[in-house]
Amino acid sequence: MKKTGFYNQHKELNAKMVSFAGFEMPIQYPKGIIHEHKLVRSSVGMFDVSHMGEFFVQGPEALDLVQKLITNDASKLEIGQVLYTAMCYEDGGIVDDLLTYKIADDHYMLVVNGSNIDKDYEWVEKNAVGFDCEIRNESDEYLLLAVQGPKSKETIKKLTDCNLDDMEFYRFAYDQTLAGVPAIVSRTGYTGELGYELYFKGGEAEAKKVWDALMEAGAEFGIEAVGLGCRDTLRLEKGYVLYGNDITQDTNPIEAGLGWITKLAKDDFNGKSVLEKVKADNPDRRLVGFEVTADRFIARQGYKLFKGEEEIGFVTSGNLSPSLDKPIGMGYVKWDYKDPETEIEIEARGKRFPATVKKMPLI
């Protein structure tokens, strides 16, 4: 099991550690997921997400390779801009969802899910054959902290010369320093709040330096370390999909509601012809959000969805929404049942629990 550079910090804070993506990661700290969730919505929390993967594509044909790999259109990116996208197999199944950073005209960074690093890199390598560019997997070298919440900007501002006031959402600055450590400062996140993701290289020493500096800078706002547990509840409320739950290699971006990052007008890319057909015919099913209306029941991944006697789909993510204080979730339903306010039922433990399809985001 791998450890991130922040392992000692997690231990000191008595985090509950779990195995995730091959790393020992903090799922929560002693105050719990609901507390951490509310802290990020109301002030600022700091996530160690160093398990995420960083690939670099550099060379004269870097853009051509990126364009072949991803469903979104990187040709329109400006230097310093980030793009959310999917990456598909030839059959339209999703390899991963990822961020594409344009560092220079011939230099891109791809940030992928930690649990997919190996298979993603294999896929990128396979596709890179014949392109005039080099690819590098620097996932083991980069540490990554996500500082998220309305007070994140004021916290980070104290530690960098980077002009955060002029940095828009999905923009980044490549050659920055944070608490004296060279860093990439990116206005991105997975919480739906104002937030930043801070990439830097190093070991335990750099990790401790940046961690301690952020804790001190955020102290006046009550900053705390927060774990993967609230990362999941925060993203679910905002309708952000999670690879392995809501999207997998057995789902395609059209049915997953990721049509907005699938640019079918773009030149050829992996999966394009299949996705064009799916789009033209309408998919058989659609990922939807729902609110559970039953009393005292939380939908969990894998529970079946029903309309009357007909099985219409399954739950992919479910949890309590700490913001709404109601159980919410996501799941695939047959196309005819995708519309908001459709009444459905969830089966668990031999019983049925009512739920209502809702427009996403849920908050």
Binding site: K16, G32, I33, I34, G229, R296, N319, L320, R349
Partner: protein, 125 residues
């Protein structure tokens, strides 16, 4: 983490406090900590229960767990205070966080439960 000496414990991480022929039942600090934030407790059973019956479910943010009856008897009271304040299961597992009371039908079953030391050993404390 506390494991009061005057309670009995089960493999399923429940505690039992016996007063006269009434057993008060809850889940241990260890269980509450493993579950994380408890958000709902749904006691579905009513009336007569046998040892091992599923009394209901505990939903936490991370997971759901069944609650089993550690003893046989008749449910006399359910802690309805948990409907509004389920977090007391995390904060006061052996006090305000009690879940049900059962009138014992076979007090010899109590002998099969663990004492605090055995329970602690069973969870590696």
């Amino acid at each position: 983490m506390k494991f009061p000496e005057d309670l009995k414990y089960t493999d399923d991480h429940e505690w039992v406090r016996v007063e006269g022929n009434i057993a008060t039942i809850g889940v241990t600090d260890h269980a509450a900590s493993e579950l994380g934030d408890v958000v709902y407790i749904d006691i579905e059973m009513d009336g007569v229960v046998s040892k091992g019956d599923t009394l209901g479910t505990i939903e936490a943010v991370k997971t759901v767990a069944d609650l089993y009856s550690p003893i046989s008897g008749t449910i006399t009271e359910v802690n309805t205070g948990l409907n509004d304040n389920p977090e007391v299961v995390n904060n006061d597992a052996y006090g305000e966080g009690w879940i049900v009371k059962i009138e014992l039908s076979d007090s010899s079953e109590l002998d099969e439960l663990m004492d605090a030391d055995s329970y602690k050993a069973s969870i590696g404390h």
